[in-house]
Amino acid sequence: MGKIKDKIYDWKNRLKDRHMLTLVVSLIAIIVIMGVFIYKKQTEYRQVMENQYNMAFFELVDYVQNVENFLAKSLISTTPEHGAETLTNVWREANLASSYLSQLPISTNELANTSKFLNQVSEYSYSLSRKNIYNEALTQEELDNLKQLHDYSLELENTLNQLSSDMSEGRISWGELTKKGSIAFATQVSNISQDSFKNIEENFQKYAGLIYDGAYSEHITTAEKVGLTGENVSEEQAKQVVKDLLGEEKTKNIESNGLIENGNIIVYDFYCKQNEDDKNPTHISISQKGGHVVLMNSNRDVVAEVISQEEANEKGKEFLYNHGYQNMKETYYLKQDGIITINYAYQQGDIIMYPDLIKLKIALDNGEILGMETTGYLNSHHERQITEPQIGIEEAKTTLNKNLEIMSEKLAVIPTEWRTEILCYEFKGKVDDTEFLVYINAENGREENILVIIDTPNGTLTM
């Protein structure tokens, strides 16, 4: 000890000799002050984060409580009107719950099933509420589903309540939850809480997918792709499709990425280069089944726009025709940086089939086709049996708003969110200066959808 003391005194005296002591002392003072300041700021920020996480968590608890509550009510509701109202509430509360859930700093994999549960409750109650609105009562099966959902929501609510009291009593803090490495004294606490979140998940392991017509239902995501027809092709045959599509020039150098088996569609994947050091290779995927183009894409700078939108429409249509897609009609387009993206829908007789959609990307300097996307077409294209509409066009018109000045009318098949299709009358019309598309169901006269047409210099959009 004495030795160190001597050394410090010695050091101090030497500094004094050179008038350095004040300098060193003030430097140390500055560092200490800054340290305190930074520490304070940091605590402040951490507090802000903690508060935000707490808010998200407690909101989640509240909304899940409401979901449970409204689900319970929906089970005993007897009139469709009241049922619709209750289910609409479930839809809203579940939606908000899932949005707050996603703000928690818990890794995605631990909460995936909870999130799926909330999204499906939200979707399901929405689709049932629509049913109620049309004055249809719920079937026994649907009530059973609701009952099951209610049981799960009850379990979720209980677990969340437990967590919430842990949190209020200070047993858990978000800082510990988000910390990556486990520090000895924090481990025990964070084990409790991490396990609690895991427990939530385990309750949902049993929760199988509901069978219902919602966008998130399991059978929708695995639905058959009716447009994907034909026999399996070999990689060589797929390469030939690529050459036919892009021409000799662009396919001098084809680099194969092999067969991609786990995607939505089994495809052969290629990169095409014009020469060895081509900076803009074209990426193209050809389906193994039938050798259809699934996706083609390349990008380059387009400086001069010399081709009009109409010319581009025709070029695209010609391109599609030459590659076996007949009767395609342009519907919407979007122009960005000299590249136009045009949507083409299949036309069967006079009826537009909106689900059978192909998108093309065309360069407006030389009309080159830069991209192609056929998912919609492959998912749904087939020749449909169109039955005579139950409702005449004049009758459908009576449903329209009296102020709508009709500009055009035709029959169209539109997709619903749950991958079913509806035959509709499409009325394009104007109220004041705003253009609308109104879809009236040709079977029962219901107003299925209303779209606002937004004309921008860059294209026609609908919302």
């Binding site: 995607g263 990307k361 996307e373």
Partner: protein, 99 residues
């Protein structure tokens, strides 16, 4: 050219998936979801005619080169073992894409 389209596609696939938030902002800013968000890289300004912007537009217009992937990771730096339990669909550049 570095192709960036696949990252945008993953984000949009997540928006459509029930296991993830239902909005683009919700998916991007989900805590811990993307390292580029956690470390602040996301705030770097990019010029209007950058290839990144073109790729983002293609993704918004519906081009998905990943075949429906929800995750991607770098096999050399990934620390989370859980990610290996996912089905790898394809490899683009340094990243494995999986669902």
């Amino acid at each position: 050219m570095k192709v960036k389209l696949q990252y945008g596609a993953v984000i949009l696939n997540r928006v459509k998936d029930p296991n993830f938030p239902n909005t683009i902002a919700g998916v991007i800013y989900q805590p811990g979801a993307f390292t580029a968000v956690s470390d602040g890289q996301i705030n770097q300004p990019i010029s209007e005619n950058s290839t990144v912007v073109k790729a983002a537009r293609d993704a918004l217009n519906g081009w998905d080169p990943t075949g429906g992937c929800l995750y991607y990771f770098n096999p050399n730096t990934a620390t989370n073992k859980w990610i290996w339990s996912k089905t790898i669909v394809k490899t683009i550049g340094k990243h494995h894409f999986c669902k």
